[in-house]
Amino acid sequence: MDTLVDLGNGFATALQPASLAFALLGVLMGTVVGVLPGIGPISAIAILIPVSFGMEPMHGLILLCGIYYGSMYGGSITATLIKTPGEISSAVTAIEGYEMARRGRAKTALATAAIGSFLAGTLAIIGLTFLSPVLVRLATVFGATEYFLLMATALLLASTMSSGSRTKALISVFIGLAVGLVGLDFQTGLPRQTFGISLLSDGIDFTIFAMALFAIPEAIRNLALGRGAKEEIQRFGDAKWMTKEDWKRSTGPWARGSVLGFIIGILPGVGPSLASFMSYIMEKRLSKRKDEFGHGAIEGVAGPEAANNAGVGGAMVPLFSLGIPGSATTALLLFVFTMYGLQPGPLIFRDESGLIWAIIASMYIGNIALIVLNLPLVGVFVKLLKMPKEILFSAILVLVTIGAYAIEFSLFGLMLLGLFGVIGYLMEKGGIPLAPSILALVLVPLLEDNFRRMLQISGGSFLPLITRPVSLSIVVLMLLGIIGPIVFRWWVRRRHLLMDVTVA
């Protein structure tokens, strides 16, 4: 009950005109930086830090938090319309979202993304409000062993992301792994696969890789078609709202994505990006229309978009309750708290309860603002697609180039963009799916670090995999997942054989 009283007081503060204005401004700016490729919430927050120091702590924090969760909305727009993910967490939306747009269902895709984001964002804040004290334990139960198993499971599933040849999907996974290993080895700090080029020592930026693989091949393909070949994208501009069927198909993914995203978001170091990939894989596995995946399945947009928004809410749990930042963006938010003389952690809910509840309340309000802002904009954004494709795709190339440059302000980024763009085009020509390599790139550092930590801590023994209760459960589930289907298939075949015998 105390929580409700605190939250009520929080709303009273958050609804004051100035607080409200900063919440709205924050989510608006979040949407904008989400849309722009290469400029993520982290750059926006960094640039606004000097301004926020001049503000009251509460207003500054409401603004910056608004940018963070607001950016999760914007990312889906470019991913869907022009296959250019603005943020890591919306990379997966570029798969089904863009396919839906090609089939004239851009409006539906954006609507299910926006509504899913709203529901998941709100559910996650409810989780943050009421379940923080319980869930924060999750962050401290998961050790290196459990993280390793989690990442290994995700990697196993990566090859099931695409339809078609399993071998080609694995090739894609290996391309992602190879790219992900470039840079300084995390445990020893020595360079690997950098070919002596010092610019490679920081590794390949995820956003450059994702933009290069998704946006550039698509642009080349469409521009290469020439004026005559209109049929390829002829239905781009049509627009229909969500039908009853769409609502029905979206509800499940929204709910599952919210829960999954929130839980993954809580785990420090993992965050919203992995949540959206995992939700996609889960939806594909659960769907009765598996063949539609890769050709514009609405579940593949609804689930991941819900998951990445819920992930942001989840990431706030360890930040607020333990003072532990789970990602670079939350680390920056933690610094802002510190500069205001505030220390997130177990004591902040006691010492600064008025402030922290006002921020949480502003998130409820911000989410409502986002849906009100985004739904009408759907129609406006979709009109972009009516542009002649020569102009549209040239503009995309320009946008992607600026984005790649903005990441490190170096021409080297552009060269990488070009190189991986060509690789992506060749992969697509060869029927090698792109998404698994992007997921592999996200996973490889997490997988490797935790694997090596596990072995270092155990002195080179693999026993922790089965001696810790949580890790043992994951191993058992993994084995069931791998062996289960094989046994089932064998059993079904045997029954058929037996029946054949009986009939004969």
Binding site: L184, S198, G341, L355, E408
Partner: protein
């Protein structure tokens, strides 16, 4: 509640007006975000008495949110707030090779310029000592050291290791069983300490983590036995009592509330090493600009808002300029060189 009261006090008088102003400032910054403008400064002129004429870029050679980044932002914030420097001071992030990429640019491309300063620290000395970077802070135009962050070894409050003696005993029994969570070159002071305690630094089981947040999690979930980092990394869990301090490598007892934490020297282990942070300029920076910045940073070090920043972040003042700073940094460099040779942390 402190800030809430201040907040409501201010709101009563001029909130709408200041809010409107702030909204304007925010919108202006948004334009910066959109144009992707990193704030490349224009040449501030040919020196002379009225330096700086234009903006001076302050580079944090790491990601936003990192230690160097927070230092850069804290410094510019106080310089502007106290009106010590009135020209714009855009902060830019140029991550790469633990600061090496930007330091190399400052030594080569930006040579002789006066519109650039950057943040550096002990970590850059480790990079050089390990042969991973051609240049170290002592090779640049070092302008000043600003403060130090003291290293602290901590353990979970309910764990087996309750004090420094427990730690030394555990390390003596089987160093492999003591997983030491460390981030980057935080391993150095611990390795030197181990050597003093009669344990081969090469036997220490260092496990690398990405900063204090991950280290704290690793201790709470039982992966790590102890952790070493700059003490501000553990602030929230030290305050809440989930984690307890064992020893610090500071040269004098820490400020309250950590005055009772033993220093290594007082406990009989002769190790003193602190992570200093400082400011440097391009190679061959004009003397007028060096003098200007040395003076401006000295004013900064005396200002109220900077003192407040130091206190909030648990940073200890260590302001030095000129020869004094150069000497301090070279001494730290010698300790780092020795440490890198003693331990087997990877080097070329």
């Amino acid at each position: 509640m402190r800030s809430m009261m201040i907040a409501s006090g201010r709101r009563g008088t001029s909130a709408p007006k200041s809010a409107a102003l702030t909204v304007g400032a925010v919108l202006a910054s948004l334009t910066l975000v959109i144009s992707g403008c990193g704030g490349k400064a224009q040449p501030p002129g040919e020196g002379g008495g009225d330096y700086p004429k234009g903006p001076v870029t302050v580079t944090a050679p790491a990601e936003p949110g990192s230690g160097w980044d927070t230092t850069a932002r804290a410094v510019t914030e106080s310089l502007q707030k106290e009106e010590i420097v009135t020209t714009p001071l855009p902060v830019q992030n140029r991550p790469g090779g633990t600061g090496c990429t930007w330091m190399t640019s400052m030594m080569e491309q930006e040579k002789g310029k006066d519109d650039q300063i950057a943040i550096t620290s002990l970590a850059s000395q480790t990079m050089k000592a390990r042969g991973l970077c051609e240049y170290g802070p002592e090779d640049t135009t070092l302008i000043a050291t600003l403060y130090v962050e003291d290293f602290m070894v901590v353990s979970p409050a309910n764990g087996d290791i309750q004090n420094l003696d427990d730690l030394v005993k555990a390390l003596g029994d089987d160093p492999q069983k003591v997983a030491v969570a460390a981030a980057g070159d935080d391993t150095l002071p611990f390795a030197l300490f181990a050597k003093e305690a009669g344990i081969s630094p090469a036997d220490i089981n260092f496990v690398n983590y990405d900063g204090g947040g991950e280290q704290t999690t690793a201790m709470l979930n039982g992966d790590a036995t102890v952790a070493i980092a700059g003490m501000s990394e553990f602030r929230s869990v030290l305050e809440s009592g989930d984690i307890k301090p064992l020893v610090t490598f500071a040269d004098a007892p820490l400020a309250a509330p950590f005055e009772s934490v033993p220093t290594a020297v007082d406990s009989g282990y002769d190790v003193t090493l602190s992570n200093w942070r400082g400011v440097y300029g391009p190679a061959e920076m004009p003397q007028a600009a060096v003098d200007y910045w040395a003076g401006a940073l000295e004013d900064l070090s005396k200002s109220a808002s900077w003192k407040e920043t130091l206190e909030k972040n648990q940073w200890a003042p260590e302001f030095r300029t000129g020869e004094d700073a150069q000497q301090y940094v070279e001494e730290a460099g010698a300790t780092v060189d020795a440490g890198v040779k003693e331990t087997d942390i990877g080097s070329k």
